[in-house]
């Protein structure tokens, strides 16, 4: 099959704004998987992640005209996604506080497929720790350490300043470290006297 020239993001945005339905779909397929998987990892919930993808693109297509730099549509979409995730995390935290979230219904960082026992245990511990920290900190931590973003990228995606991101990361790290360390001690029978 012959190779077709691939339009870049800016070109796609321009075409979407001109009413090209194919460009909308192309833009979607170019970014949806990445954003959806990001949301799924952040939320630990496949259905919610799909909702996020939908919300993100519904919102994006409506606000595309306001995007100043079409080249950066990817980062912009990521911002919307992270914002949507953040909203859901906050709502979830609120429901948990109000006791509306039944115990055991929350998803955990379950590894897909076969993972080393050690890794999956660690993931569960991390997840338990993350559940206790605020939505902001959790989001920053996941973006930084699960997704591997740089601090500047985390700041961009969350709309927070870099110093705030760093503060949140420090908080989150402390909690996660505490949690994992104490749990590890219990697990290995090294309880403090």
């Amino acid at each position: 099959m012959e190779h077709l020239a691939v339009p870049d993001d800016a070109e796609l945005v321009r075409r979407v704004l001109a009413g090209d339905r194919w460009a909308e779909e192309a833009l979607y397929w170019r970014h949806a998987a990445r954003l959806g998987n990001l949301a799924a990892r952040l939320l630990r919930d496949r259905d919610a992640a799909l909702d996020v993808v939908q919300d993100t693109f519904v919102q994006a297509f409506e606000g595309l005209g306001r995007l100043r730099d079409p080249e950066r549509v990817g980062g912009w979409l990521r911002q919307i996604t992270v914002h949507q995730v953040h909203r859901r995390l906050r709502r979830r935290a609120l429901r948990r506080r109000l006791g509306l979230l039944p115990r055991g219904t929350e998803k955990v960082l379950a590894p897909a497929g076969r993972a080393a026992m050690e890794t999956s245990t660690e993931l569960r511990l991390v997840e338990a720790a993350l559940r206790e920290i605020g939505a902001d900190a959790r989001l920053c931590w996941c973006l930084r350490f699960v997704e591997g973003y740089r601090v500047a990228e985390v700041a961009e995606a969350t709309g927070l300043s870099e110093s705030t991101v760093k503060r949140r990361l420090r908080d989150a790290e402390r909690r996660v470290r505490q949690h994992v360390t104490s749990a590890g001690e219990i697990a290995s029978g090294e309880d403090a006297p």
Binding site: M1, A26, W29, V126, E147
Partner: protein
């Protein structure tokens, strides 16, 4: 400190979302945008309406002298209060004129009472006798007259209310329009217009008689079958009618049902909960005789298939985006597909799923990406697959495809709001060999999974007949989702015979219109 979770975790967690789910999400994006557009349009028109109303009200207020007082109770024309004493006629007819110009004429021996008389309501009770009411319309006051088992609501008119016995009241309308309520009425109420007459009995029936040209008045029949338009059905019947699927929907569901056959499984009956939508057996399916109309359809289908086969040898350009396969808007899908149902043995419940699949084929850069929309039945539940991704591998006239994943939804018309359910048990490889050489309709019909075959042919028609694509697509989507679909002109489901026949007949009916 630094966590070493990054790559390790990402690798461990994998990529949770598959193409099928993303395809479903994309469908959702389109749907939600459409909904928002509708909502926005509604809001705009509501805002416009509100704006005009407010403007109108302001203009009205500005140009209308403020009366400054609430409407008053009715009085007699003389100015005396209108009360119970005025509603008695002993041995002679008595006329009562009211301050709004309305007039009551009481027959001798009539006795009534005014129960409410304020600016908004005038309520009378006729305790005995007969009264003619000539109500001046536009008073802004609701008149109700209770008489025995009936309550008459006045809508500006001239009529008579007669209490024939404590259990029977007659209402006779000369002019205008009244509503009569009474437990004895078929629906608790009846509206009478000029010339109509109702008799309301305590436990019995009421009748409304239209004075025909002859001018004669029939006696009230026992049945509330009235001259003019038929009486509305009883509530239970109305509810039943409302819930009965429209003919088009019935046909669509039937078509899905008949295509819904898996020849391997013995428990087909379990899935077939509707008695009237039974699936044909395997024996009679492929051998049904083709009528004249259907041979025309067969020829058309074969021509389309031949065209498709020709296209298959020179695939159209595909729109490909960085390795992501896209459904094409312009490209054709030059292949029909056969698939064998290979349910996941780990999920015995899912074995009841029956595919009535129609396929959306799209050429991509290399293998073919495939979207499937299907209807399944699991016990009494009907589920629609929103999109399942599969891969088609083409070459030397053979096509294979495997289903990679699926998303289910419960049809909207059944449950109000569709819910996406991911069913990992649907994951599994389906492998099948396609036609060798050019596909034909007979070839399609001869296959086991006929629903799938027919759907493949349907898809070919869809792509080959550009302008009709939407119609067929809508129909097919309707069939697949069990939603209302347009009924084709002559949808004799059995003419082509078998499951694919039903499917094709329906689609061709639209395609050839």
């Amino acid at each position: 400190m630094s966590w070493d979770l990054g790559n390790e975790t990402r690798r461990t967690l994998g990529e949770p979302l598959g193409d099928a789910e993303l395809q479903a999400a994309w469908t959702g994006v389109g749907r939600r945008r459409a909904q928002r557009r509708v909502r926005r349009a509604r809001l705009q028109s509501a805002a416009l309406a509100l704006g005009s109303f407010v403007l109108g009200a302001l203009v009205f207020a500005a140009f209308t002298p403020w009366r400054g007082r609430a409407p008053e109770a009715l009085r007699l024309a003389s100015g005396a209060p209108f009360d119970a004493r005025t509603l008695v006629a002993t041995d002679a007819e008595r006329s009562v004129r009211l301050s709004d110009g309305s007039e009551l004429v009481l027959a001798p021996g009539t006795r009534g009472e005014v129960t409410v008389n304020d600016g908004l309501t005038l309520a009378l009770v006729l305790e005995e006798g007969e009264a003619l009411f000539d109500v001046v319309p536009g008073g802004g006051r609701a008149w109700t007259i209770r008489a025995g088992p009936a309550r008459v609501e006045v809508l500006g008119t001239r009529f008579t209310v007669a209490l024939r016995s404590p259990e029977t009241t007659e209402v006779d309308v000369e002019r205008g329009h009244v509503r009569v309520r009474g437990l004895g009425l078929p629906q608790g109420q009846v509206e009478l217009r000029a010339g109509d007459k109702a008799r309301v009995s305590m436990p019995g029936t009421a009748a409304r008689e239209a004075h025909a040209d002859s001018g004669t008045t029939r006696n009230a029949p026992a049945e509330p079958a009235l001259a003019g338009e038929p009486m509305r059905a009883a509530p239970a019947e109305r509810v039943r009618r409302a819930w009965r699927p429209a003919p088009a929907r019935r046909r669509a569901l039937q078509a899905v049902d008949v295509a819904d056959v898996d020849m391997d499984d013995a428990d087909v009956d379990d899935a077939d909960v509707d008695g009237d939508a039974s699936a044909p057996s395997e024996e009679d399916a492929p051998s049904a005789p083709a009528g004249e109309a259907s041979s025309e359809l067969t020829a058309a289908a074969n021509a389309a298939l031949a065209e498709a086969a020709a296209l298959a040898s020179s695939p159209p350009e595909a729109r490909v985006d960085e390795g992501q396969a896209l459904r094409t808007s312009a490209g054709a899908a030059p292949a029909a597909v056969a698939a064998e149902d290979a349910p996941d043995p780990a999920a015995p419940e899912e074995r009841r799923l029956r595919a009535a699949t129609f396929l959306r084929l799209a050429p991509a850069g290399g293998p073919w990406l495939l979207g499937v929309e299907s209807t399944y039945r699991v016990g009494p539940l009907e589920l629609g697959v929103l999109g399942a991704a599969g891969r088609l591998v083409t070459g030397d006239g053979r096509v294979r495809f495997g289903i990679v994943g699926g998303l289910l939804r419960v049809p909207l018309h059944r449950w109000g709001r569709g819910r996406l359910l991911f069913s990992p048990t649907l994951r599994g490889e389906l492998g099948a060999t396609m036609f060798e050489g050019a596909p034909t309709l007979e070839g399609l019909q001869g296959r086991r999974a006929r629903g799938v075959h027919a759907a493949g042919a349907l898809e070919l028609l869809l792509t080959l007949r550009g302008s009709r694509a939407d119609a067929i697509f809508g129909l097919a989507a309707g069939l697949a989702a069990g939603l209302d679909a347009e009924t084709p002109r002559d949808g004799g489901v059995e003419q082509l015979g078998g499951t694919s026949g039903a499917f094709l007949q329906l689609s061709l009916g639209v395609a050839l219109r």
